[in-house]
């Protein structure tokens, strides 16, 4: 079989590459990783106007082909045909930002110099017009010697023309050029830059008096007083929305799983299969899937902040604060993403140039409260903290939740401070970053991003989480306890838990918590389903308790100091295999994940213990 020709999408960061990739390929995307390096490989299928299929690969955005970071290395190797696991591209689509020709043309010139067939997408021409810039695309094409197609990727404009131009290139010179093989034109970056500037000047007409929108917005967004206030408001609204907006869909999902459970109970005869399905599979998985709306809302905000360009402004404002603990503003972006999930957060640290900065950020990322902790927090707070008003409009439950988030942030900053002075000691390399223009993101791009997240979560719920639930259920159900003995103590899982209980008893944990801890290693939210499963099994002995909600049982079963200690444990404990796995991948070995897991466990044990004993002593 003759594989479809591969075309690579290349360009500077902030050129709108991803939006163009979405516009060209639609939802037919595959996200993977290049072998041996921590660089994401995003590929998709598109068809040319004549129906020929093309494999489009979105290369990491870089400023040049000089390899300083893994991203740049991959981009360089792919366009040179040296990347293992990747063919030499049959053509390149170079994406340049019409509002920033000076800078983007430099990289474009370097890429054109390789000698591969090239089509240039002159992107964001609408923004250029808004800024009072007119670019002569025909003149630019003549200067560069390659076709130039004006596009607005987020609005899907110019996409068909781009495909047509690409189609022509692939018929015309495709095969013949590759035989020669590309070679880097060894030109100095400064020389290229000066040439780029000259071309930009010759092809751009600037209308005077046009005000730059981004500059106007920044006058407010970066204002000494309004700027931080705006950031605080945005973060507040974000976390508020996670709770307020999610309530209705969450109730609907709970109702749905209840219905499925009841249906299974009526259809199947009582016995092994019915218990496994209704107690192990449906109750367990339902307890986790219920949090999908919260996770999606959180990701929605993160995606929006990134796509609009605000995220970099937040990093800019926070740089000084991060510098206090030895990090830079760049670390703020991965850390904020970690509120959604530490895995993409840790992956986002790839944009941090300084290796020590990056390592520190990876090590502290699990301390920011990820969305998987929410299910645990919500359950325990709902069950054990009274729904009392502290001040008008401010409830005690909300306050405790807020406190847990603050604790996570303080823990992360404190850990960074200590790490930067001990294990990751080294000079600071400062902070240098392009501040992209503000942009109205397309709903389609945000929806596509959310859809990817949704699939990843459901896949996790369907695999890791489901598997740990079933295993736990089996271990907790067998051997069947004789009358008068508790099932959760008599079973295999019960015996394992009894061994763990010895270690965690001093910090106030009971038998059922000990039972939930090992499966929660797979993913934090499993703690909720594990508790749901164990209590469901115990309730099986006692028929009238079956209908009682999990939170009702917990509130009867757990004294307040235990509940608080359990919450504290979840603030610090490294309970997530995916995080450990991604840390191993990003740090290239087991040394740092092992270190991370140990320091977090010690922190969690000490914090939970201290909380338990202080709360007991205070008579709570």
């Amino acid at each position: 079989m003759n594989p479809a020709p591969m075309v690579a999408l290349v360009g500077n960061p902030n050129a709108g590459k991803s939006a163009l990739f979405n516009a060209l390929t639609g939802a037919r995307q595959k996200v993977g990783n290049y072998p041996g390096v921590t660089v994401e490989r995003k590929a998709g299928r598109m068809s040319l106007p004549d129906g020929r299929p093309i494999e489009l690969v979105d290369l990491p955005g870089t400023y040049s082909l000089e390899p300083a970071s893994p991203d740049e290395q991959v981009t360089r190797d792919v366009v040179l045909g040296k990347q293992s696991g990747e063919r030499l591209p049959s053509a390149l689509v170079i994406v340049i930002d019409a509002t920033n020709l000076d800078n983007h043309l430099r990289f474009a010139l370097q890429l054109i110099g390789l000698g591969l067939p090239v089509v240039v997408a002159l992107n964001m021409v609408d923004m250029a017009a808004r800024d009072g810039l007119t670019i002569d695309a025909a003149r630019l094409a003549k200067e560069l010697g390659v076709p130039v197609i004006p596009t607005v990727a987020v609005r899907r404009r110019g996409v068909e023309e781009l495909k047509a131009a690409l189609s022509e290139k692939l018929i015309g010179e495709g095969a013949t050029r590759i035989a020669a093989g590309p070679g880097i034109v060894d030109e100095d970056i400064v020389v290229l830059q000066r040439r780029a500037r000259k071309i930009a000047l010759a092809t751009t007409t600037e209308e005077h008096g046009a005000r730059r929108w981004s500059h106007r917005i920044d006058a407010i967004a970066l204002h000494p007083v309004m700027g931080p206030a705006l950031l605080a408001i945005i973060l507040f609204v974000m976390f508020q929305a996670v709770f307020a907006w999610a309530q209705t869909p969450m109730d609907a999902i709970t109702a749905l799983f209840d219905q499925i459970g009841k249906w299974v109970d009526t259809v199947l005869p009582a016995g092994f299969l019915r218990s496994l399905l209704s107690e192990g599979v449906i109750k367990g998985t339902g307890a986790v899937i219920v949090f999908l709306p919260q996770i999606l809302i959180l990701f929605f905000f993160i995606l929006l902040l990134e796509a609009t360009g605000y995220m970099v402004r937040a990093a800019f404002m926070m740089d000084r604060v991060m510098a206090r603990v030895g990090l830079s503003g760049r670390a703020f972006i991965p850390l904020l993403s970690s509120f959604a999930c530490a895995v993409p957060g840790i992956m986002a640290t790839r944009t941090i140039d300084d290796p020590k900065d990056r390592l520190t950020t990876i090590l502290i990322a699990p301390l920011t409260t990820c969305s998987a902790r929410l299910p645990v927090y919500t359950l325990i707070i709902g069950a054990c903290i009274p729904a009392r008003q502290v001040l008008p409009g401010i409830g005690l439950q909300g306050l405790v939740l807020f406190g847990l988030y603050v604790l996570g942030v303080c823990g992360a900053l404190l850990a960074a401070l200590v790490l930067r002075r001990t294990v990751t000691k080294g000079p600071s390399h400062g902070f240098m970053m392009e501040m992209p223009k503000y942009q109205l993101p397309s709903i389609r791009d945000v929806a596509l991003g959310l859809w990817t997240r949704c699939l990843i979560f459901l896949k996790r719920a369907g695999t890791i989480i489901l598997a740990s639930n079933v295993i736990l259920w089996v271990l907790a159900s067998y051997p069947v306890a004789p009358a008068g003995q508790k099932q959760t103590e008599y079973s295999i899982a019960g015996h394992i838990a009894s061994a763990i209980e010895v270690v965690v008893k001093p910090i106030g944990f009971n038998h059922n918590i000990a039972l939930a801890l090992p499966p929660a290693m797979a993913a934090r939210e499993v703690a909720v389903s594990a508790l749901a499963t164990t209590y469901a099994i115990d309730a099986g002995d006692n028929e009238d308790a079956t209908d009682q909600a999990l939170s009702g049982r917990l509130s009867k079963d757990w004294p307040l100091p235990t509940a608080l200690a359990f919450l504290m444990w979840f603030v610090f404990a490294p309970q997530c295999l995916s995080t450990i796995a991604v840390t191993r991948r990003e740090t290239n070995g087991w040394k740092w994940p092992a270190f991370m897991v140990s320091y977090l466990f010690v922190l969690a044990y000490v914090a939970a213990g201290a909380t338990f004993w202080i709360a007991t002593w205070a008579g709570l």
């Binding site: 400023y63 040049s64 000089e66 300083a68 509002t99 920033n100 020709l101 000076d102 800078n103 970056i189 400064v190 830059q193 000066r194 500037r197 981004s214 500059h215 920044d218 006058a219 970066l222 204002h223 000494p224 007083v225 700027g227 931080p228 970099v312 990093a315 800019f316 404002m317 740089d319 000084r320 604060v321 510098a323 503003g329 140039d353 390399h429 400062g430 902070f431 240098m432 970053m433 392009e434 501040m435």
Partner: protein, 80 residues
């Protein structure tokens, strides 16, 4: 005058950059972000806490950098 001393919204020309005094990666990033002798720069914003970092306009790009780096860039005011 140095870039960190440049008042806001006053365009100036870069007269010299102390390339030899900075780490190689820093120099590379600065060049990639468009810093070069002879280009026009303008400080446009300062961060709210401690007035550090600063945001500068270089060409058509806005670039954030810390004062420590801005100190290594010498500028000359453009006669209005």
């Amino acid at each position: 005058m140095r870039l960190d001393q440049l008042p806001l919204n006053r365009p100036a020309k870069v007269s010299a950059i102390a390339w030899d005094e900075m780490a190689q990666t820093t120099a590379k990033r600065l060049r990639e972000l468009g810093f070069d002798e002879g280009v026009t720069v303008e400080a446009v914003h300062v961060a709210p806490f401690g007035k550090d970092p600063i945001a500068c306009r270089v060409g058509r790009m806005t670039v954030a950098l810390r004062r420590a780096q801005a100190q290594q860039i010498s500028v000359e005011a453009i006669a209005a």
